[in-house]
Symmetry: C2
DNA sequence: CTGTTAGCGCGTTCAT
DNA sequence: ATGAACGCGCTAACAG
């Protein structure tokens, strides 16, 4: 039975006052009912609940958090929605929070890979008075991050921060890159290239470790710039095709997405993987395990890293401590079929 | 008690009062400065700004939205972080909002594919007084969604809702499924199977259209249950391997993820694609275009659908209208290399 | 034991 | 340039 009407407008949501009036009681009593106090008679309780139901009343979290001085919000900032590694971290965070039954809400916001935008986004979160902050793939300086850490318990995932105020959950990128490089060396490769992750979190560490491991093996490292995105892998691969030293026999890509992009270019150029060129990625995103990709890579337990960050923050929100913890996770080599012995 | 390294605690954020006191002016004046009023003398302006800077003051969006009766928040609910289609929609929404310079914040929340959780999540958003709501992959009933539509401008993406209160942005699933099925029929396939999307949005329409198109061609449709996730595709593929009518020559999977999962199982079983079995997906997620996957599929412009939903909502937030619009987008067949003529 | 009144939190706005 | 009132829900103090 649709009530026929002109263009309706959305009405202001009912307030606690509306409920009180309708139930014929005071605001306070409504509040008591909402908070499940036992100082309320059954009679007025049902009356209030009926009024709430009639009006479709929903308490305002805005007003509530103003008086409680707690928003119940955790802010999560990530550089983009499409990143599978970040998505897994977010799932880990959500999972921990839901399991902890704190009634906390993990709010996600995307920063579009732009530092300026990320700063704005973080400011909005701080204005919303989030109780904690998680940053992933952040483009901001340590100093900037430390600034957040002063205001609110802050964690980064996958990003080193040299500050005692921040919870840092990272895998050992140097170790991971070493595993990847050594794997290729042990397969007999010598002309090995690295497509970098550009300004991405941990990319510098991966590159440095690659160079070091190559040097230790007496090999000349080949390094071309890339990014953590597919397109970066594509560009890196194209650069390698045109490279003065000729095509390498193996490539260590900064991450899986980058590796997938590079493979795509190599395949388009008629190269077979791993027959003509071996590839190693980093992250072990779900797609890497597909038969169609089957990428040899370095596993970084994203979901678990998300849980860890969430746990560290929840603990600190409880104590109010400004003292961050660093958790270093050991990466693992996962050998699949994109690498072969020379 | 250790005095030196006394564990610091996070202090309450400074309020407008603190700023006023420090600057030696009234609250109101600080407010005026913040809102960039021109009725403020240069002297007090600089004093206030200095105080703001000293204290690291950040206005509370909570208090502000209480008085303004606008939160500046748009709530986005999606079933999971890992879904590439949803991720693209979210990027589209963000892109529109950022471009529109409304200072609106698109907040994302994940509902974990569980209806109960999704309801809670939506309630939290409504309590936060989001000004509009976007739901994707929702497991809730039309009635439930209509309930949101009564409170706040609400849109769904990829989900039909039979209610005039909701903005609905969908592609024509029946048409898309018909395109996919016809493509296989035209290639000479007759024993074609469909792995369904289970309870996923639009899955019923795709299945019905598949059945209809097959019937019109005088073919017996083979249908096995699946989901919109990779695991669903895997299960569907296993069911087909054990199917009484033997393996089909072609499979139309409910979406790309499902198709990728199915292909993975087929490949593990030693089947070549498309030589032994042709596959069509749905969505055209970025991964589908990779050489390694190169999936024939139905394109659904996720990014653009996100932009559209955001636009419709922003318009309605402006007018306060409760009248939803339905936008039906035409899907397109993208032929790649997972299908071949018999 | 049940219910009410009054005042607060933080930023905005209007009359002064 | 300022004081006072307000928005909405919570809570301490008080009253029936």
């Amino acid at each position: 039975m649709p009530d026929q009407s002109e263009t309706e407008r959305h009405t202001r949501p009912p307030t606690i006052r509306d409920v009180a009036e309708r139930a014929g009681v005071s605001k306070s009593l409504v509040s008591l009912v909402l908070r499940e106090s036992d100082r309320v008679s059954e009679t007025s309780r049902t009356a209030v609940l009926a009024a709430i139901d009639d009006l479709g009343y929903r308490p305002s979290a805005v007003a509530r958090s103003l008086v409680n001085r707690r928003s119940g919000l955790m802010g999560i900032i990530t550089s983009g929605a499409r990143d599978a590694f970040h998505a897994d971290v977010v799932e880990g965070v959500s999972s921990y929070i839901n399991a902890s039954k704190r009634g906390l809400i993990p709010l996600i916001l995307y920063s579009d890979h732009a530092e300026a935008h990320e700063t704005r986004v973080a400011d909005r979160f701080l204005e919303l008075r989030v109780e904690s902050l998680i940053l992933m793939g952040s483009a901001q300086s340590d100093t900037a991050l430390e600034g957040y850490g002063r205001v609110v318990p802050t964690a980064t995932v996958g990003r080193y921060v040299d500050s005692p105020l921040i919870d840092v959950v990272v895998n050992d990128d140097a170790r991971g890159a070493e595993l990847a490089t050594r794997h290729l060396l042990e397969l007999g490769h010598r002309r090995i290239a690295h497509i970098t992750g550009g300004a991405g979190n941990g990319a510098r560490e991966r590159e440095a470790s690659f160079r070091r491991t190559m040097a230790e093996a007496g090999c000349e490292p080949i390094v071309v710039p890339g990014t953590y995105l597919q397109e970066g892998g594509r560009e890196g691969a194209r650069r390698l095709q045109d490279h003065a030293s000729g095509l390498p026999t193996a490539v260590f890509a900064a991450n899986d997405l980058c590796a997938i992009g590079a493979m795509d270019v190599f395949k388009s150029a008629g190269l077979a993987i791993p027959d003509d060129i071996s590839i190693v990625g980093y992250d072990d995103i779900p797609f890497a395990g597909l038969r169609a990709i089957d990428l040899t890579t370095i596993n970084q337990p994203a979901f678990q890293m998300g849980e860890t960050a969430a746990r560290l923050l929840c603990e600190r929100v409880g104590t109010g401590s400004t003292e961050g913890t660093t958790v270093l996770i050991e990466p693992a080599l996962v050998v699949r079929s994109t690498t072969r012995a020379l």
